[in-house]
Protein backbone atom coordinates (compact mmCIF):
# COMPACT_ATOMS: atom_id res chain seq x y z
CA UNK A 1 0.00 0.00 0.00
CA UNK A 2 1.19 3.50 -0.72
CA UNK A 3 1.97 5.39 2.41
CA UNK A 4 0.23 8.72 2.00
CA UNK A 5 2.01 11.90 2.75
CA UNK A 6 0.27 12.48 6.07
CA UNK A 7 3.29 11.85 8.25
CA UNK A 8 7.01 11.62 7.57
CA UNK A 9 9.53 9.05 8.74
CA UNK A 10 10.98 11.39 11.37
CA UNK A 11 7.52 12.03 12.77
CA UNK A 12 6.78 8.31 12.89
CA UNK A 13 10.03 7.85 14.82
CA UNK A 14 8.94 10.46 17.30
CA UNK A 15 5.57 8.76 17.72
CA UNK A 16 7.37 5.45 18.20
CA UNK A 17 9.42 7.01 20.97
CA UNK A 18 6.26 8.37 22.52
CA UNK A 19 4.74 4.88 22.45
CA UNK A 20 7.93 3.45 23.88
CA UNK A 21 7.92 5.77 26.89
CA UNK A 22 4.15 5.63 27.41
CA UNK A 23 3.87 1.86 27.20
CA UNK A 24 7.06 1.54 29.25
CA UNK A 25 5.30 3.39 32.05
CA UNK A 26 2.23 1.18 31.63
CA UNK A 27 4.35 -1.97 31.75
CA UNK A 28 5.95 -0.80 34.99
CA UNK A 29 2.48 -0.38 36.52
CA UNK A 30 1.45 -3.82 35.28
CA UNK A 31 4.61 -5.36 36.67
CA UNK A 32 3.86 -3.91 40.11
CA UNK A 33 0.37 -5.38 39.96
CA UNK A 34 1.90 -8.75 39.20
CA UNK A 35 4.28 -8.64 42.19
CA UNK A 36 7.23 -7.32 40.23
CA UNK A 37 6.87 -9.96 37.58
CA UNK A 38 9.29 -9.36 34.73
CA UNK A 39 7.55 -8.12 31.58
CA UNK A 40 9.24 -7.89 28.21
CA UNK A 41 8.25 -5.13 25.88
CA UNK A 42 8.90 -5.10 22.15
CA UNK A 43 9.97 -2.07 20.17
CA UNK A 44 6.79 -0.18 19.17
CA UNK A 45 5.68 -0.29 15.57
CA UNK A 46 4.43 2.93 14.05
CA UNK A 47 2.86 2.96 10.62
CA UNK A 48 0.32 4.57 8.38
CA UNK A 49 -2.30 2.00 7.55
CA UNK A 50 -5.56 1.96 5.64
CA UNK A 51 -8.74 1.80 7.69
CA UNK A 52 -9.55 -1.51 6.01
CA UNK A 53 -6.42 -3.18 7.41
CA UNK A 54 -7.03 -2.21 11.05
CA UNK A 55 -9.28 -5.20 11.88
CA UNK A 56 -6.40 -7.49 10.84
CA UNK A 57 -3.96 -5.88 13.31
CA UNK A 58 -3.94 -9.02 15.47
CA UNK A 59 -3.74 -11.61 12.72
CA UNK A 60 -6.83 -13.64 11.95
CA UNK A 61 -9.82 -11.32 12.44
CA UNK A 62 -11.75 -14.24 13.94
CA UNK A 63 -9.27 -14.77 16.82
CA UNK A 64 -10.96 -14.16 20.16
CA UNK A 65 -9.62 -11.24 22.17
CA UNK A 66 -10.46 -9.31 25.33
CA UNK A 67 -9.99 -5.61 24.62
CA UNK A 68 -10.33 -2.51 26.75
CA UNK A 69 -10.39 0.88 25.12
CA UNK A 70 -10.75 4.48 26.07
CA UNK A 71 -10.74 7.81 24.30
CA UNK A 72 -8.47 10.55 25.60
CA UNK A 73 -8.51 14.17 24.61
CA UNK A 74 -7.07 17.54 25.41
CA UNK A 75 -8.54 20.49 23.51
CA UNK A 76 -8.31 19.57 19.82
CA UNK A 77 -6.07 16.58 20.42
CA UNK A 78 -7.61 13.13 20.47
CA UNK A 79 -6.34 9.58 20.90
CA UNK A 80 -7.89 6.15 21.10
CA UNK A 81 -6.04 3.72 23.39
CA UNK A 82 -6.64 -0.02 23.33
CA UNK A 83 -5.24 -2.81 25.46
CA UNK A 84 -5.77 -6.11 23.68
CA UNK A 85 -5.19 -9.59 25.08
CA UNK A 86 -5.86 -12.80 23.19
CA UNK A 87 -8.67 -14.55 25.10
CA UNK A 88 -6.39 -17.22 26.51
CA UNK A 89 -3.91 -14.61 27.73
CA UNK A 90 -6.77 -12.71 29.38
CA UNK A 91 -7.84 -15.90 31.17
CA UNK A 92 -4.26 -16.52 32.31
CA UNK A 93 -3.94 -12.94 33.48
CA UNK A 94 -7.16 -13.18 35.49
CA UNK A 95 -6.10 -16.51 37.01
CA UNK A 96 -2.80 -14.92 37.99
CA UNK A 97 -4.35 -11.84 39.60
CA UNK A 98 -7.39 -13.48 41.14
CA UNK A 99 -6.65 -17.01 42.32
CA UNK A 100 -9.83 -19.09 42.23
CA UNK A 101 -11.36 -16.93 39.49
CA UNK A 102 -13.88 -18.44 37.14
CA UNK A 103 -12.62 -19.54 33.73
CA UNK A 104 -15.78 -18.18 32.17
CA UNK A 105 -14.80 -14.53 32.68
CA UNK A 106 -17.89 -13.55 34.64
CA UNK A 107 -18.69 -10.17 36.11
CA UNK A 108 -15.84 -10.11 38.64
CA UNK A 109 -13.28 -11.25 36.07
CA UNK A 110 -14.51 -8.72 33.51
CA UNK A 111 -14.31 -5.97 36.05
CA UNK A 112 -10.73 -6.97 36.78
CA UNK A 113 -9.82 -6.89 33.08
CA UNK A 114 -11.38 -3.46 32.78
CA UNK A 115 -9.39 -2.24 35.75
CA UNK A 116 -6.27 -3.62 34.15
CA UNK A 117 -7.07 -1.73 30.95
CA UNK A 118 -7.67 1.35 33.06
CA UNK A 119 -4.24 1.08 34.67
CA UNK A 120 -2.50 0.50 31.36
CA UNK A 121 -4.17 3.40 29.58
CA UNK A 122 -3.95 5.66 32.65
CA UNK A 123 -0.23 5.14 33.07
CA UNK A 124 0.30 5.62 29.35
CA UNK A 125 -1.55 8.93 29.52
CA UNK A 126 0.33 10.16 32.56
CA UNK A 127 3.60 9.58 30.70
CA UNK A 128 2.17 11.38 27.68
CA UNK A 129 1.06 14.30 29.85
CA UNK A 130 4.52 14.52 31.33
CA UNK A 131 6.14 14.59 27.88
CA UNK A 132 3.76 17.08 26.30
CA UNK A 133 2.81 19.21 29.32
CA UNK A 134 -0.82 18.66 28.33
CA UNK A 135 -3.56 17.37 30.59
CA UNK A 136 -5.70 14.68 29.04
CA UNK A 137 -9.13 13.64 30.08
CA UNK A 138 -9.95 10.02 29.41
CA UNK A 139 -13.29 8.27 29.01
CA UNK A 140 -14.21 5.37 31.29
CA UNK A 141 -12.66 2.24 29.82
CA UNK A 142 -14.98 -0.17 28.05
CA UNK A 143 -14.40 -3.90 27.72
CA UNK A 144 -15.38 -6.14 24.83
CA UNK A 145 -14.65 -9.86 24.44
CA UNK A 146 -15.16 -11.13 20.91
CA UNK A 147 -13.54 -11.71 17.53
CA UNK A 148 -10.60 -9.32 16.99
CA UNK A 149 -12.11 -8.01 13.75
CA UNK A 150 -15.47 -7.32 15.37
CA UNK A 151 -13.89 -5.62 18.38
CA UNK A 152 -11.61 -3.38 16.29
CA UNK A 153 -14.37 -2.57 13.80
CA UNK A 154 -16.65 -1.56 16.65
CA UNK A 155 -13.98 0.63 18.26
CA UNK A 156 -13.48 2.41 14.93
CA UNK A 157 -17.22 2.93 14.59
CA UNK A 158 -17.74 4.00 18.21
CA UNK A 159 -14.92 6.49 18.08
CA UNK A 160 -16.09 7.63 14.65
CA UNK A 161 -12.75 7.26 12.95
CA UNK A 162 -13.64 7.90 9.34
CA UNK A 163 -10.27 8.67 7.83
CA UNK A 164 -9.22 6.41 4.97
CA UNK A 165 -5.71 6.16 6.40
CA UNK A 166 -4.72 6.02 10.03
CA UNK A 167 -1.59 6.17 12.11
CA UNK A 168 -1.31 3.02 14.14
CA UNK A 169 1.10 2.58 17.04
CA UNK A 170 1.35 -0.96 18.30
CA UNK A 171 3.47 -2.23 21.17
CA UNK A 172 3.56 -5.86 22.21
CA UNK A 173 4.35 -6.95 25.74
CA UNK A 174 4.94 -10.36 27.27
CA UNK A 175 4.74 -11.46 30.86
CA UNK A 176 7.66 -13.79 31.33
CA UNK A 177 6.83 -17.43 32.12
CA UNK A 178 3.09 -16.84 32.23
CA UNK A 179 1.92 -17.34 28.65
CA UNK A 180 0.51 -13.84 28.65
CA UNK A 181 1.11 -11.65 25.61
CA UNK A 182 -0.82 -8.51 24.92
CA UNK A 183 -0.68 -5.33 22.85
CA UNK A 184 -1.23 -1.68 23.42
CA UNK A 185 -2.64 0.02 20.36
CA UNK A 186 -2.79 3.77 19.98
CA UNK A 187 -4.68 5.55 17.23
CA UNK A 188 -4.01 9.28 17.26
CA UNK A 189 -6.64 11.39 15.58
CA UNK A 190 -4.92 12.54 12.38
CA UNK A 191 -6.29 16.06 12.78
CA UNK A 192 -4.47 16.47 16.06
CA UNK A 193 -1.17 14.98 15.00
CA UNK A 194 0.60 18.31 14.47
CA UNK A 195 -0.39 19.54 17.93
CA UNK A 196 0.90 16.34 19.45
CA UNK A 197 4.21 16.49 17.61
CA UNK A 198 4.67 20.18 18.37
CA UNK A 199 4.18 19.55 22.08
CA UNK A 200 6.68 16.74 21.99
CA UNK A 201 9.18 19.38 21.00
CA UNK A 202 10.09 17.94 17.64
CA UNK A 203 9.37 18.70 14.02
Amino acid sequence: MDSPDMVGAAQLDLLKELANIGVGNAVTALSVMLNDQRINMHVPEAKVTSLQEVPDSFGDPENMVAATYCEADCADLGLVLLFVLPLEAAENMVARLLPGASQALDEMERSLLMELGNIITGSFLSALSFMTALTFSASTPRLGIDMAGAVLGTVIAETKIVEDNLILLKTTLQVEDEGIEGSVLILPDSGSLQTLLKNLGGC
Binding site: R142, G144, D146, A150, V151, G153, T154, I156, V162, E163
Partner: protein, 162 residues
Protein backbone atom coordinates in the same frame (compact mmCIF):
# COMPACT_ATOMS: atom_id res chain seq x y z
CA UNK B 1 -14.78 -22.29 -3.77
CA UNK B 2 -13.83 -18.96 -5.32
CA UNK B 3 -13.96 -16.54 -2.41
CA UNK B 4 -13.86 -12.77 -2.31
CA UNK B 5 -13.22 -11.10 1.02
CA UNK B 6 -15.09 -7.91 1.75
CA UNK B 7 -13.16 -5.84 4.29
CA UNK B 8 -14.50 -3.17 6.59
CA UNK B 9 -15.83 -0.18 4.60
CA UNK B 10 -15.73 -2.27 1.45
CA UNK B 11 -18.13 -3.90 -1.02
CA UNK B 12 -17.98 -6.46 -3.82
CA UNK B 13 -20.22 -8.27 -6.30
CA UNK B 14 -20.17 -11.79 -7.80
CA UNK B 15 -22.14 -13.61 -10.46
CA UNK B 16 -23.28 -17.24 -10.46
CA UNK B 17 -20.37 -18.82 -8.63
CA UNK B 18 -18.28 -18.32 -5.56
CA UNK B 19 -18.71 -16.74 -2.20
CA UNK B 20 -18.47 -13.29 -0.69
CA UNK B 21 -17.26 -13.27 2.91
CA UNK B 22 -16.84 -10.62 5.56
CA UNK B 23 -15.23 -11.38 8.93
CA UNK B 24 -16.01 -10.00 12.34
CA UNK B 25 -19.06 -7.79 12.10
CA UNK B 26 -19.48 -6.08 15.46
CA UNK B 27 -21.48 -2.86 15.39
CA UNK B 28 -20.90 -2.82 11.63
CA UNK B 29 -23.61 -4.18 9.35
CA UNK B 30 -23.16 -6.63 6.50
CA UNK B 31 -25.66 -6.05 3.71
CA UNK B 32 -26.21 -8.97 1.33
CA UNK B 33 -28.15 -8.17 -1.84
CA UNK B 34 -29.20 -10.95 -4.19
CA UNK B 35 -31.03 -11.31 -7.48
CA UNK B 36 -31.93 -14.97 -8.00
CA UNK B 37 -32.77 -15.04 -11.73
CA UNK B 38 -29.33 -13.81 -12.80
CA UNK B 39 -27.65 -15.18 -9.65
CA UNK B 40 -25.97 -11.89 -8.91
CA UNK B 41 -24.78 -11.32 -5.37
CA UNK B 42 -23.44 -8.21 -3.65
CA UNK B 43 -22.06 -7.71 -0.17
CA UNK B 44 -21.18 -4.51 1.69
CA UNK B 45 -19.63 -4.07 5.16
CA UNK B 46 -20.59 -0.64 6.44
CA UNK B 47 -19.06 1.11 9.44
CA UNK B 48 -21.36 4.03 10.14
CA UNK B 49 -24.88 5.12 9.41
CA UNK B 50 -24.84 8.52 7.79
CA UNK B 51 -22.19 9.94 5.43
CA UNK B 52 -23.50 13.48 5.77
CA UNK B 53 -22.49 13.55 9.44
CA UNK B 54 -18.94 12.38 8.95
CA UNK B 55 -17.54 13.60 5.67
CA UNK B 56 -14.88 16.21 6.29
CA UNK B 57 -13.86 17.76 2.98
CA UNK B 58 -10.14 17.58 2.41
CA UNK B 59 -9.56 15.35 5.42
CA UNK B 60 -11.07 12.04 4.49
CA UNK B 61 -11.50 10.88 0.97
CA UNK B 62 -14.95 9.86 0.10
CA UNK B 63 -15.34 6.10 0.29
CA UNK B 64 -19.05 5.32 -0.20
CA UNK B 65 -18.68 1.81 1.23
CA UNK B 66 -18.14 3.22 4.73
CA UNK B 67 -21.68 4.44 5.22
CA UNK B 68 -25.13 2.85 5.05
CA UNK B 69 -26.70 5.66 3.04
CA UNK B 70 -24.02 5.68 0.35
CA UNK B 71 -22.91 2.02 0.22
CA UNK B 72 -26.30 0.50 -0.63
CA UNK B 73 -26.96 2.56 -3.80
CA UNK B 74 -23.41 1.87 -5.05
CA UNK B 75 -23.75 -1.87 -4.37
CA UNK B 76 -27.11 -1.98 -6.14
CA UNK B 77 -25.70 -0.07 -9.09
CA UNK B 78 -22.74 -2.47 -9.39
CA UNK B 79 -25.18 -5.41 -9.47
CA UNK B 80 -27.34 -3.77 -12.14
CA UNK B 81 -24.20 -3.19 -14.21
CA UNK B 82 -23.57 -6.93 -14.00
CA UNK B 83 -27.08 -7.58 -15.30
CA UNK B 84 -29.25 -7.80 -12.18
CA UNK B 85 -32.93 -6.81 -12.51
CA UNK B 86 -33.47 -4.08 -9.96
CA UNK B 87 -37.04 -5.07 -9.15
CA UNK B 88 -35.95 -8.58 -8.16
CA UNK B 89 -33.14 -7.72 -5.77
CA UNK B 90 -33.72 -8.74 -2.16
CA UNK B 91 -31.71 -8.01 0.97
CA UNK B 92 -30.50 -9.88 4.05
CA UNK B 93 -28.67 -8.03 6.80
CA UNK B 94 -26.38 -9.14 9.61
CA UNK B 95 -24.55 -7.42 12.49
CA UNK B 96 -25.26 -4.20 14.36
CA UNK B 97 -24.28 -5.70 17.72
CA UNK B 98 -23.22 -3.94 20.94
CA UNK B 99 -19.96 -5.61 21.94
CA UNK B 100 -18.86 -3.29 24.69
CA UNK B 101 -20.13 -3.43 28.20
CA UNK B 102 -21.90 -0.12 28.31
CA UNK B 103 -22.98 2.42 25.76
CA UNK B 104 -20.99 5.50 25.00
CA UNK B 105 -22.78 8.79 25.52
CA UNK B 106 -23.76 8.91 21.86
CA UNK B 107 -25.80 5.68 22.13
CA UNK B 108 -25.56 2.40 20.28
CA UNK B 109 -23.81 2.65 16.94
CA UNK B 110 -24.95 -0.86 16.00
CA UNK B 111 -28.61 0.04 16.38
CA UNK B 112 -28.19 3.26 14.42
CA UNK B 113 -26.45 1.35 11.64
CA UNK B 114 -29.26 -1.19 11.39
CA UNK B 115 -31.86 1.55 11.37
CA UNK B 116 -30.05 3.44 8.60
CA UNK B 117 -29.70 0.27 6.51
CA UNK B 118 -33.40 -0.55 6.88
CA UNK B 119 -34.49 2.91 5.86
CA UNK B 120 -32.16 3.06 2.85
CA UNK B 121 -33.38 -0.35 1.63
CA UNK B 122 -36.99 0.80 2.02
CA UNK B 123 -36.24 4.01 0.14
CA UNK B 124 -34.77 2.00 -2.74
CA UNK B 125 -37.66 -0.51 -2.68
CA UNK B 126 -35.38 -3.43 -1.92
CA UNK B 127 -37.35 -5.90 0.24
CA UNK B 128 -35.61 -7.09 3.41
CA UNK B 129 -36.02 -10.87 3.48
CA UNK B 130 -34.08 -11.69 6.62
CA UNK B 131 -32.13 -10.00 9.41
CA UNK B 132 -29.86 -11.38 12.11
CA UNK B 133 -28.98 -8.21 13.98
CA UNK B 134 -28.36 -6.80 17.45
CA UNK B 135 -27.24 -8.84 20.44
CA UNK B 136 -23.84 -8.57 22.08
CA UNK B 137 -21.67 -10.77 19.88
CA UNK B 138 -19.71 -10.50 16.65
CA UNK B 139 -20.56 -12.40 13.49
CA UNK B 140 -18.87 -13.59 10.32
CA UNK B 141 -21.06 -13.66 7.22
CA UNK B 142 -20.88 -15.50 3.90
CA UNK B 143 -23.06 -14.97 0.84
CA UNK B 144 -23.19 -17.76 -1.76
CA UNK B 145 -23.64 -16.52 -5.32
CA UNK B 146 -25.17 -19.80 -6.51
CA UNK B 147 -28.14 -19.76 -4.11
CA UNK B 148 -28.18 -16.42 -2.32
CA UNK B 149 -27.87 -18.24 1.01
CA UNK B 150 -26.32 -16.23 3.83
CA UNK B 151 -24.34 -18.31 6.33
CA UNK B 152 -23.54 -16.73 9.69
CA UNK B 153 -20.98 -17.98 12.19
CA UNK B 154 -20.06 -16.65 15.59
CA UNK B 155 -17.28 -17.59 17.93
CA UNK B 156 -17.91 -20.89 19.67
CA UNK B 157 -21.34 -21.46 18.09
CA UNK B 158 -22.65 -23.43 15.15
CA UNK B 159 -23.45 -21.85 11.80
CA UNK B 160 -26.92 -20.56 10.92
CA UNK B 161 -28.32 -19.91 7.46
CA UNK B 162 -30.63 -17.11 6.36
Amino acid sequence: MYTVQVKIADLAVLKEQGMLITYGLGSCVGIALYESTSKIAGLAHILLNDSTKFIKPGVNNYNPAKFADTAIPVLLHRMIELGAHKGEVIAKIVGGASLFNFQSASGGIGEKNVEAVRSKLAELNVPLHAAEVGGNYGRTMKLLAETGAVVITRAGKGAMTL
